[in-house]
Amino acid sequence: MEKKCLSFLLISLFFIFVGDGIGKEKEVVVYTSLDQIYSEPILRGFEKETGIKVRAVYDIEATKTIGLVNRLIAERKRPRCDVFWNNEIVNTIRLKKRGILSPYNFKGNIIKGFDDPDRYWYGFAARCRVIVINKEKVVKSRSPRSILEVIDKRWKKKVCMAYPLFGTTATHMAALAEIWGIDRLINFLKLAKENKVSFVDGNSVVRDKVAKGIYCWGITDTDDVYSGIQRGMPIEMIMPDQDGIGTLFIPNTVSLIKGAPHPENGKRVIEFLLSRQTEWRLSRSGSGQIPIRYKIEPVKGIPRLDDIKVMAVDFENLADLMDTVLPQIESII
């Protein structure tokens, strides 16, 4: 019995050690903050097409994006990641400013406003920051049209949003800081807290709680609302501030990590993610992402880029603002 246990242990250790090390030249490490349910099929498609094994690290809903970003910063002296696929843009720019990214010449066209002119990152398949309402609790004629209604007394205790320290919500806060100024943003969040706005663990949690009727409406992303509608949830999407500052538009971004252990494989992943096929798949996946690189019609229920009044922001500025704004937001929340 003991010899059998020992043999089993040795064989298992062999698989752990050696199995992990076999074929290292045929692998690539991708950190992705796009929901695993959408990003995994894309990465598996890459594996199937190229035969290169993808070692993916996904982020969890509660600490979206910022968790991976800080992991990349912590690993900068000894990077483990080859490609960072971010589901937003500002944190990618923060990484660029910290010297963690490496430039790469993408073989396709550069899209103005969605690609870095210095070629450190490229954008594709975007989402918007939207209002999600519960159709049974909110009459359409009286539904909120602006994020400013978060502080409206008639919505006291009836609104939720994700923690404004992570993911696209953090990006949204930085965008508001750029347009309004930091002081007005901080004041806005204080008033939101006084109005008993609930801060929850992620955009999908916002959608779920609104769908259950726990809250009347919330602020989340297009992909969360779209996937909820597909599943039959009693929710609806509203593009906020179309008469005002506009709706924030956030593309996915992909970048190569400086000092990546498998740079050539990383470049192949980037080419794959920026291909028409990927953007089409993301638009047709349950997340309903909005194509920006190629002329692909979005799915029904998702607006086209040309049909939306987009919030005019400079993403490079937002990256600088984020470091100032986040600690101040944290002290309020």
Binding site: L9, S12, D20, Y31, E40, R55, V57, I60, A62, R80
Partner: protein
Amino acid sequence: MKRKRYKSWTIFLAAFTFFLIIVFPPVIVVIIELLKLKASSILSIGLVEPYKNSLIIASTSSLFSLMISLPLGLIFGSRSFRHPYLFIVILLIPLIVPPYLTAKSWIDLFVKTPIGGPLFCGVILSLCYFPIPLYLIVSGLRRIDSELEESALLILNRWQILTKITIPLIYPYIATGLILIFLFSITNYSVPSILGIKCLITKLYSDFSIFHNLSKSIWIAIPMIIICLFLSYLLGILIMEREFISFDISPSKGIMVSIFENHKKVVYGIVIIFLIILFPLISLFKEITSLKILAITFKDSLRSFFHTIVLSTSGSLFLSIISICCGYMFQRKKFWKNRLLNAIILFPFSLPSVLLAICITHIWNRAIFSILYDTPLILIILWGSKYLPLTIRIISDHVSQIPVEFEEAGLLSHLTQFKVFRHIVCPLLGSGFLLIFWLIYILTISEVGGTLLVIPPGIETLSIRIFNLLHYGDLKVVASTSIMLILSLLIPISFLLILKTIQTLKGKDSGSIFRKDK
């Protein structure tokens, strides 16, 4: 002779070295960071609400566990209960189903009600962890000398016997169980995260994820560290020199007096079994409406399934072997007689795995340790740092039940200490080995918080996969993947149980236990 003696203890010293390397570095990091502490820094963090919620969760969980486990313990611990193996198997189910799945099942039951909060979280955790105090209570009850009850029956009624004799005799087991539940609950990350509760552990995780600041993370954990230190000291006192787990479950042992009539026992047992044990499973299985989804999910999760089985099995085996060697050494060298040493050894177990993972990242994320940090071995280090103290204590308890005379006889026959250990002690530790292997296996498979922080790229366990999928809400996929998780929990233990049964049938059973005469 001296050289031979030295050589014979080499394997134990090697195991002890592993133990020190795996378990204590994170504790040292915690202590170093605590020494850099400034009082003003803690005050600025804002810990009142998380601290309050953590205490509510842990206290509620302990109390509810007691309310469930004590009556059940009095049923299963009585002589009239004839099927001890059956209860062991059935009551493993709440431990097998990960707590976050149980939480999800109950949340979905109250789909339109805004249920949540720390109280609800505490109740959920009690439903998951109540078998722990239950097993301890049954162990205690089976040690009670039936002559005490017989004498008492002459003058007291059964309620008086239970309250004045039985329960006072088993209070250390009850207290130990409550402390363990408290520690498991206050350090559980997955359930408060699913419920969106702001408690110490979720704040610790999200804060480290945002700022990657080790010092700040440890400052946040200070209330928890103080509580854990106190509880591990208390635990050490309670279980010091006490055999707190009985490995003898023969039907002839147990109390004579029971508070329940036979039919009431059956009703109570069935209600508990259905509500608590079967409900999460039924609620999961009913989501699977088509075999096609099951097949697709199985195919997508196959890699995770493989990782889970290999990592947890090999990790459990390796840690069990370390536990046996260290447990034997600690018991024979009388480590457990010293209260302070008890507390020090148990302290790492009481710390949350998230905090341990943060410290492990700080220590091992260096180029010279890449062979550890960049491979799944880092997970074994994390699991070892959390669970080795507990499993060593369990094995020591088992070793204490083996008469020293057996080993002395071996030594007199000119066997070395190691040969005595290998040929005499090890065969008698069969049940103990199975218990700790199974315990480590279940705990490592369900572990989420710390694993998320250290898991290398490309490796994904089923628990992490399910935990992520829970947020996207596709319950069919969650349910299908959960079945794979439950299968992964059952496969190795079934294999071991079959082996043991074959050995028993062949008459090679070496798992018999001897009670130590004091």
